[in-house]
Symmetry: C2
Subunit: 184 residues, 2 copies
Amino acid sequence: MARQLGVSRVPVREALFTLEREGLVEFSATGRAYVKELVPHDFEELFILRLALEPPAARLAAPQLRANARALEDNIEATAGARSLAEVTHLDLDFHQIILEASGQTRLAKLWRSLRSELQLWLERLHRTHEIQTKATRQKTLGAHRELVVCFKEEAPAAAERVMRQHIQGWREWLPMPGDAQES
Amino acid sequence: MARQLGVSRVPVREALFTLEREGLVEFSATGRAYVKELVPHDFEELFILRLALEPPAARLAAPQLRANARALEDNIEATAGARSLAEVTHLDLDFHQIILEASGQTRLAKLWRSLRSELQLWLERLHRTHEIQTKATRQKTLGAHRELVVCFKEEAPAAAERVMRQHIQGWREWLPMPGDAQES
DNA sequence: ACGCCGCAAACGGTATACTGTTTTAAACGG
DNA sequence: CCGTTTAAAACAGTATACCGTTTGCGGCGT
């Protein structure tokens, strides 16, 4: 790999360890790196982690976002005008990341960033195999995001936490199981 | 540092990155590594993360631990007979780690392991500056742990989640604020 | 034909070396 | 005496080199 990339082995090595942390690569017992295959349980775990982490993050971020909801509103506007599926997904993840970063919890935000790449990989795969991003689902996501902004602006941490929990749970429910074949 | 340790710089470099992941070291913008100083907010964040992660982990671990509660029971017995403060703390963290590992969520378990070293550092510091491990508190911890084992054996995931949440919250409440001075 | 052995190539980890940048401190001027 | 300049030392990142181990495969024996 180092030869192919024209760099020495140490940076490649470190990049592989970074990818391992992000869940995209795994190492064998002898230290060899392989691309980690996506098994449905991993997707479930990502969902479990999001459900555990994001609602408290939303609660903690509420005071900070009360006056700084602008980035979130810009994001919603951009999502409404987005043309491609990939763009919508990217903006959706951005929206959540803004909240995580605003929570003031550095480990939480760092953890989210490390989950994001894996999550994005899963969503891209789902996009290829299922038709998951319809107009209706986009509107549903936008609705939840708008609701969250209202919670933040009114400084309602408990409500933000609850809305975030429902948003993630609802989002998971209308998502196809990653292992399923295309339905319809 | 590499010269002092008698090894080359690359392994030192990687060790420092590992310590950064564990929260014990931080890097400046120019890439220099410093020991991260402990600020009370970091302790709060560890607590927030435990509260977010461990109750769901207990719920998910319940089916797995129904028949395999032996390690937990051994841990409780060892804790009851432990002689030193450090030993009790170590066993306490072990107890929680067993549950995290049994949750079947590899990222969750990995995350816990990376939090553990930082948590242990904090507890050691609290031990030096406060008298936090009295007989009463140890009994309280043991009581919660025993209660959790009962939940697991009866395969009561929801109860395990609730007990874990109360255990962590209660534990936090009788802990002194890390920034406070000794309160005789 | 099949399994076992042994060797060559590839690999992982780390020591050493090179290069550009940052830090430090001494020399200089105000 | 203090701020500025500048040169040397330290440093971060990475390329190269070395060594012990693993892997893959051709040849051997059964």
